[in-house]
Symmetry: C2
Subunit: 426 residues, 2 copies
């Protein structure tokens, strides 16, 4: 029976992959207007299905409560009228973005007259694997459509009723714009084996996997995937206060970088402070953080600066708290700060506060992270804040999509060459 | 004993990876002048070691002859004075290329004053796995150095003496320019298990694998690698002669695309000819190819056009001959040509010959290959011919390096953000 079930699931998932691949070929060539019309129709369909989406969401919520899920989980799962409206608005905003497909990235003419250009084309089929937030169904569906990619959505089983209702609305939008509904497919089964099949690529149908969720999900995806993955595992972001930093700016940025939202990947997790400015800056920084409700775990200097500071242990330097906790360490200067970040960081986002521009330039040059900032909060690590519009995630890989992954990062390119009869000399 | 040997090899390879990673951090920050000096010194060292390289090469050649290797193999392995000179010149030419590292790819200012730029940075550590051509040792070493990457070179065991001698010269060049010699390391053992360890990434030290060699090598690498691979498995390239094609241009390009060099990945393997121009073009095309010594395997129309044409079977459409053989098929028009290429092609390089610009534009837009050409030979699929300077290979993946892989493709980027105290609003 198990065997039979496996075979059936394999057939089902393979068919999903095949349909996505077919849809993606057509989708790559669809004009911007038609995709935008579909996005607006999807938004409209979601708004008009709001009551139904909420009643399906109530089923998921009842199951989650019965299973004794924590409040934060219930909150992520909950779809209110306002959240459904925001989801629809997100789709309208994606429609307003520039279409990346067909853009000429570069072009030049060779001495023999060959006109060469790099033209942006979609990636193909994107496998999206996510957890409890049902709004990802609409966000990812919209971003993939805009960038000309077919998508296979696999949300968490805890949100399956919500996801099905949202997906049904997306399908109505696609049909209204005469686009193959297989462009945006939802895995209807909650069988966990479906995830493994997606990670194996569905017979070559999937070009990239984008995971969105907790660390254990991302770790599993990075470990098992046989196709490329756009993701980041850790966001152990550093804020380094250089001796030349303005104390007020350092304080304001430290509080924002840590406390604006503690659960996002761009939140600062370790504050490094130059020895030279310990007397002038450290008490202000630590006091401001504690005043905002942050737990501070620090080295001896930090504990001396404020008696409320708890002692930090080795593990603290490597921890992404994703909570109102920060580790504080004094360093002898830029060299030690760079070494600390190289040793403990996760190549995601790191910032320096300094009036000394030379020090800042060296920091930005030498810190090997996807995003490095001078005199600004690490919480700017976000596609929207970068002016890219919505993002599907943030990647720390060294290839292709790095940093915020928006519609442009969901594309690749091809070389188009125009000649007039050129042959290659021996 | 086997176990002990394995442990020792693991330790050896892990140390190699660690040294490369350390060298790469320094290499990423080295100025262009110093890298160029090293490249020129490497060229000089190779020239002055020519006699020694040839005598080491003679050992490899003697072993290859004793093993009864075919002539083509012996030819690829042979290093003459002229070939050693060309290798050195290649390094000097790489020195003359623009340094991609530190280049600003894009920059913009956000409404809140944040100045964001994408800056080109090296990939890190490149694992190069190749077969019998010893010149790859110098070419790959030079390209990786120029792009600020450390490289671990693993050549074929059949060229180990030659590779060691070339590598020793490269090391002398690095030392002359005060660059850590671990920037360019050669795997000294011929143990095949070393390849498997590189494909596993050497404890996270290797960022990308570039295989260069026959199809079985590339297939193994793509199958086993746990890190990204820049490669192409097949180059089943098509030349499509549209009904509007100028017959003389079609003939000249067909002969060049197939016969200029039959063993390269950009060589045409299938010729598609529009039904409408069978009476006017087909006999000319087939006759010219046969006249140049090419075996033609064709469908009924091709056989009718020239009695020397052999019948093609289904397998011919899928075959990359890499030899003086071509498959010829008539198609009803652009639609059938596109479907044939999608069905049998390898997304590498495909070309259309047409006077009808609309047809050409549709072909270039719809054929999903890394390189698509109009009125030019498929043999232009080459980094040098694209104006990129030397290339380390050609990739058909959909990510990052696609098409010819030159120094620019051996880099990635980071976002550098300059602010003046910005914090992110709630």
């Amino acid at each position: 029976m198990v065997r039979e079930h496996g075979t059936e699931l394999t057939a089902q998932m393979t068919a999903l992959g095949k349909a996505a691949k077919e849809a993606s070929a057509a989708l790559a060539l669809i004009p911007a207007d038609q995709k935008n019309q579909a996005l607006n129709e999807m938004a409209k369909a979601i708004r008009s299905a709001s009551a139904q989406i909420q009643s399906e969401n109530a089923k998921d919520l009842a199951e989650a409560r019965a299973a004794g899920r924590p409040d934060a989980f219930i909150d992520r799962l909950t779809l209110t009228e306002a959240r459904i409206g925001a989801m629809a608005q997100g789709l309208d905003e994606i429609a307003d973005l520039a279409d990346p497909v067909g853009e000429t990235i570069a072009s030049w003419t060779q001495p023999n007259g060959l006109e060469i250009s790099r033209i942006r084309v979609p990636l193909g089929v994107i496998g999206m694997i996510y957890e409890s937030r049902p709004n990802v169904t609409a966000d990812a569906g919209g971003l993939c459509l805009k960038s000309g990619n077919a998508v296979i959505l696999r949300g968490g089983s805890e949100a399956i009723h919500s996801n099905r209702a949202i997906h049904a609305a997306l399908m109505r939008g696609l049909r209204e714009a005469d686009i193959d509904p297989n462009a945006v497919q939802l895995v209807q089964t909650t069988d966990r084996d479906a995830v493994g099949m997606m990670l194996a690529g569905l017979d070559g149908a999937i070009d990239v996997i984008v995971p969105r969720g907790g660390k254990s999900l991302v770790a599993r995806v990075q470990d098992e995937a046989r196709v490329p993955v756009f993701a980041h595992l850790d966001g152990n972001c550093h804020l380094y206060v250089h001796s030349s930093a303005d104390p007020d700016m350092a304080r304001a940025i430290a509080v924002n970088a840590k406390m604006r939202r503690t659960g996002i990947c761009g939140a600062a997790e370790t504050l490094l402070v130059d020895e030279a400015c310990v007397p002038t800056h450290l008490a202000i920084l630590v006091g401001a953080l504690i005043g905002e409700g942050c737990e501070v775990r620090g080295d001896a200097a930090a504990q001396e600066a404020d008696s409320r500071v708890k002692p930090a242990v080795e593990e603290d330097w490597a921890t992404e708290y994703l909570d109102a906790i920060i580790a504080v360490k004094t360093v002898s200067g830029l060299d030690e700060a760079l070494a600390h970040i190289e040793g403990y960081g996760s190549h995601h986002t790191d910032a320096i506060i300094a009036d000394d521009l030379k020090a800042a330039q060296r920091f930005l040059r030498e810190v090997d992270s996807a995003i490095v900032l001078h005199n600004a909060s690490t919480q700017f690590a976000d596609g929207g804040q970068f002016g890219m519009g919505a993002e599907i995630g943030i990647a720390t890989g060294r290839f292709h999509a790095r940093g915020p992954v928006g519609v442009e990062q969901l594309t690749t390119f091809k070389y188009c060459v125009y000649g007039n009869g050129q042959v290659r000399p021996a």
